[in-house]
Amino acid sequence: MKKLLTAAVLSAALATPALADTTKVGFIYIGPVGDFGWTAGHDRARQELQEHFGDAVETSIVENVDYGADAERVMTQMALSGTDMIFAASFGYGPDVNAVAGRFPDVAFQHATGYIQEHDNISLFDARFYEGRAVLGHIAGKMTETNTIGYIASYPIPAVVSGINSAYLHAKAVNPDVNFRIIWTYSWFDPALEADAAETLIEQGADVIMQHTDSTAAVRVAEDAGVMAFGQASDMTEFGPNAHLSAIVDRWAPYYISRVQALKDGTWEAQNSWMGFAEGIIEMAPWNDRIPAELQEEADGLIAAISAEEYHPFTGPINRQDGTAWLADGEVADDGALATMDFFVEGITAEFPN
């Protein structure tokens, strides 16, 4: 599959040298476009990009590219075959993007959720998932009847940790008795393990399941057990029409389009963009009808306040888990602290994994 697509890129490059104003954009994905989660989200955006520009842009994809030598080879081939811009859609491509970018200074690189930026032809971009988690936490805190929320987490990296903290703070704000039970799977995608984790959490009293893993298994288990759940990265309603309350849906398209437009205009330059509700990069899947109208309005209001930057999900006073002060009353967390977050906030009983 990889070879075939790369060959398509190469032949396309040979076939269209005359169309100088066609911008070639390559995408490399860590998973299959059919994962119904993270990679599917990026490919949705690629399709929108293609629709937006029509013939003025030519996109190509290579899926299931491993970190390391494989990614470097694929990006090198893309660069050699005249690709103008490369989107590397996973955290772990960092070293590979930087290695290839150093050799091809005329190619614009866009790295999702990365942090390494050694050359001025690399832009980094990420989404403020914690903003969406605040809304999920608020809904979960109000909807739970057992006051127990189960959370299936992947790896203890800042994006996941800030998500747990944000969800907890907002659940706690509307329900002081709320309790989070957290299971780390140390994997982004393992349907059987995620299903087992969901079952375990439900068995231990959770009636709302949140996940920061990519498969749709947990939503399905929640549906069968008659409890509630939130999807991840894409709208997962079809996997649990009753259970699925909502989901944070990634919408990278507006950003992709703006970056390609900038490249066409000659105004592209390296950036580090961290975007949320305000930029339309994340949005919520349609509310499930079982969420009372009043609560839907509250959630919409929360989204509006965050979008308008009237409210920040991490506004003090907030203490760390050990009781030491983190944010003073009214103080707002800065981006640096959020991008490196490595502690739970006060009230979460689970131990933080080191």
Binding site: P32, W184, T185, A192, D196, E203, Q204, T216, A217, N354
Partner: protein
Amino acid sequence: MILGSINPAVLMAALMVAATPILLAAIGELVVEKAGVLNLGVEGMMIMGACVGFIVAVNTGSPIMGFIGAALGGIALSLLFALLTQALMTNQVASGLALTLFGLGLTALLGQGYVGITPPRTPKLDLGPLSDIPFLGRALFTHDIVVYLTIALVGAVWWFLKYSRAGMILRAVGENHDAAHALGYHVKRVRVFAIMFGGACAGLGGAYLSLIRVPQWTEGMTVGAGWIALALVVFASWRPWRAMAGAYLFGGVVVLQLNLQAAGVRIPVEYLSMSPYLITILVLVIISSGKGRSLNAPGSLNKPFHASS
């Protein structure tokens, strides 16, 4: 520590479910290896079973038809392996690895229209008063029929290998294929049947994931279960009941670590998450270093056989 929230009966019930898919695949591979063939394509045959079983179950509305389809899907892929290794004499390790890659790719294609669909439900077996026994009822007698059939299959394989004539021929082929050939047994025929049995079992294991445990179809959903099944065969030193003990141990550790995490037990979760794999490696080391205790590997394992040689 809130250990009180863990219910041991539920834990026991969950571990039986977690162990069933890897046990099915492992018992099949055990027979294949007993016949002297190393098929590393278990993962590929499992995902094939998961996909084909799901497709058949959805289209016929019958989980039983789904499981039959899964077994046939696994057999189809295993026949490809049999063709390569038994007729064309290719390298077994390379063919097995290719089978896994092929299975993962093919099912991604086959299953495209089946994502997001709910398969027909497999009913729990109604065991009447047995399910009402305190503790044991919940732990042992609340499962679907596949869990019990899998245990029965382990017993049947044990009996077949130990007492039946056909089983002894199969073992003879696996221990020394030249001697078996000299005695007039059809080495290749026996091996092809063993490979097909392995394919059917792996397919059933895969279908257990997609039809009962998860239950849905997702590309690449087996995520390494086939490799664990392969390790289990060595772990069990090619003995059926030990394979079952190993599968239940592995399933037990997986389920236990999830429960401990959810209960908020204050021990580092990284170790909990890797514990099933650590324990598997540890037992492998203990077994293979035991003095005076042979590993019990079939003598002709992974050796090609050609009648004229």
